[in-house]
């Protein structure tokens, strides 16, 4: 395992220590692994909290700031944070108007945030929850854990953060979040496995001439494995399942996301490929992101997220955001 780390067990807290040093505009609770804005938003506004296992940086700590999250709760690598820590974050940022929990759909995240919401309501804090489940790689079924929450989480945190910042109430913010979740889909692939620090070796073996299609962001094996293919072919395998699942003709916000180990030159190349395919299919790309926004440690690969947009979403998208990972208008 080749990593810029000290003791594998200390990766999370030492990385958060770096976040604290790099970003005086954030407050980092090194005991609870909770990251908040140093200057809280105004009283009477809905607060937005997200969190989950670490290893997906800049998600979530990198999205704390004006126009996006009020707090992030960082679990151990690929492990949901515990309810008490989510509760620490929730209490810290509640400004009397309730708190939205943005939860990616993994059993661990769902159960821990559910317990946290119970704790919050015991303390009189109103909590709304949105479960993000955008990953079309997972064959959806009522009888399974359902689809994973992946790339759409980034877009949703930005948009919902903007709505909360402009003073929408909790019910509206929750409704918006659910609407966004219903209008966005993602699909990912990997060229290599990632290596969890405490595991010390790659989560799966992927031969030099093979790639994995339909992976999540935790080094889970994907839908299937196949021989390495050109970018144009990979692009098709990302675009088609998304379009097969959701009619996204018309304006859209598109993200071509890197998994952590793929350099930007490749991500732009992939973006060129997916953008042509999407446009051929009638998608009008109104806004886009290209880069590492929700990663899987050092995994090489990428994912595509397409969110059907409208004037309201584009307005929220363009609203100022000032976080380490996403910044404009500020």
């Amino acid at each position: 395992m080749k990593k810029l780390i000290n003791n594998p067990a200390d990766v999370l807290v030492e990385s958060l220590r770096g976040v604290a040093r790099a970003h005086p505009e954030l407050s980092v609770d090194l005991e609870n692994h909770v990251i908040t804005r140093s200057t809280p938003k105004a009283q009477g506004k809905v607060a937005v909290v997200s969190g989950g296992g670490s290893g997906h940086e800049p998600l979530h700590a990198g999205y704390v700031g004006v126009g996006m999250l009020d707090a992030a709760v960082a679990g151990e690598v690929f492990t949901s944070p515990t309810p008490d820590r989510v509760q620490v974050a929730t209490k810290a940022v509640d400004r009397g108007a309730g708190v939205l929990h943005i939860v990616k759909n993994y059993t661990g995240d769902v159960l821990n945030f559910e317990m946290a919401a119970e704790l919050a309501s015991m303390e009189g804090i109103e909590v709304g929850t949105v479960i993000v489940d955008d990953d079309v790689a997972v064959q959806d079924s009522l009888y399974t854990a359902g689809r994973r929450g992946v790339g759409l989480t980034v877009l949703l945190e930005k948009l919902v953060g903007a709505a909360a910042e402009e003073g929408q109430d909790l019910a509206s913010v929750v409704a918006l979040a659910k609407r966004i979740n219903s209008q966005g889909r993602s699909m990912g692939m990997a060229l290599t496995s990632c290596t969890v620090p405490v595991a010390g070796k790659p989560t799966f073996d992927l031969p030099d001439d093979q790639m994995e299609i339909g992976v999540g962001i935790h080094g889970e094996p994907g839908r299937h494995r196949e021989p390495l293919a050109p970018a144009s072919d990979i692009a098709r395998q990302l675009v088609e399942p998304i379009l097969a699942d959701l009619d996204v003709s018309g304006p859209a916000i598109v993200m071509l996301n890197g998994m952590g180990g793929s350099p930007l030159i490749e991500l732009y190349l992939m973006y060129g490929e997916v953008a042509s395919l999407l446009e051929e299919a009638g998608v009008q790309i109104a806004r886009n992101l290209v880069g590492d926004y929700i990663t899987s440690l050092d995994m090489a690969g990428c994912s595509l997220t397409v969110l059907k947009a409208d004037d309201e979403l584009l307005r929220l998208w363009d609203a100022p955001v000032n976080t380490p990972g996403l910044r404009w208008g500020a």
Binding site: G75, T79, Q139
Partner: protein
């Protein structure tokens, strides 16, 4: 031969479980690498180390407080799916046990049944979903059945452990319908479920503690 487990025996159980988790940590992580995210060993070890550290600062006098302490510590130290699930198991066991200082076989079985119900309430697992439920439900059933047939505590918990192991082994061919493994669809078949594996260790150490605790 013991007729009941007191708090000391329960603490012994907890220690045994922590030790075997530490021992089998790599194996549990291996199992989770195949169909999950390679952290079940680390999660369980982190949780049980925290539990033992907590108990080192003082053991509650009553069974309910002891089990609730174990549950709360798991909930607040593990995260992941297993944290709330194992945590709920112990929390509900404690609530069912009440402020007593020991559990006879029937009380132990009732307490475990309540814990199992708690896991189902949280995780909505059903038989054959390829989860810890598939080891735990047969184990609790076996415990009940053995007690009904008049088995003593040692024999009954041993039967539970055997049933857990059988349940665990039976997860191998299953296609997962809950947890991370469910994302794999057909590819999840051919592997043991990590949570069923740790649950089996839980019942095996319970049987040891019930037999050997002094």
């Amino acid at each position: 031969m013991m007729a009941s487990v007191d708090t000391a025996a329960l603490v012994d159980w907890i220690h045994r479980f922590r030790d075997v988790i530490a021992d089998k940590r790599e194996w549990l992580t291996e199992l989770d690498s195949a169909i999950g995210d390679a952290d079940h060993g680390a999660n369980m070890a982190r949780g049980m180390d925290a539990v033992v550290a907590k108990l080192d600062t003082g053991v509650p006098d009553t069974v309910d407080e002891l089990l609730k302490t174990v549950g709360m510590t798991l909930v607040s130290s593990v995260g992941g799916a297993s944290g709330p699930l194992y945590g709920t198991l112990f929390l509900r066991m404690g609530m069912a046990a009440g402020p007593v200082t020991e559990l006879d076989a029937a009380a132990l079985a009732a307490s475990l049944r309540a814990g199992l119900d708690g896991i189902v309430a949280r995780g909505k697992a059903e038989a054959g979903d390829k989860t810890m439920f598939d080891a735990m439900a047969p184990a609790v059933d076996a415990l009940d059945a053995a007690i009904a047939e008049g088995a003593d505590l040692g024999a009954a918990t041993a039967a539970a452990a055997t049933a857990a192991a059988a349940g665990r082994d039976a997860t191998e061919p299953l296609v997962a319908r809950k947890g991370r493994a469910s994302y794999l669809g057909e590819r999840s078949a051919g592997h043991l479920d990590p949570g069923a594996a740790s649950t089996t260790l839980l019942f095996e150490t319970l049987a040891q503690a019930a037999t050997e605790s002094s």
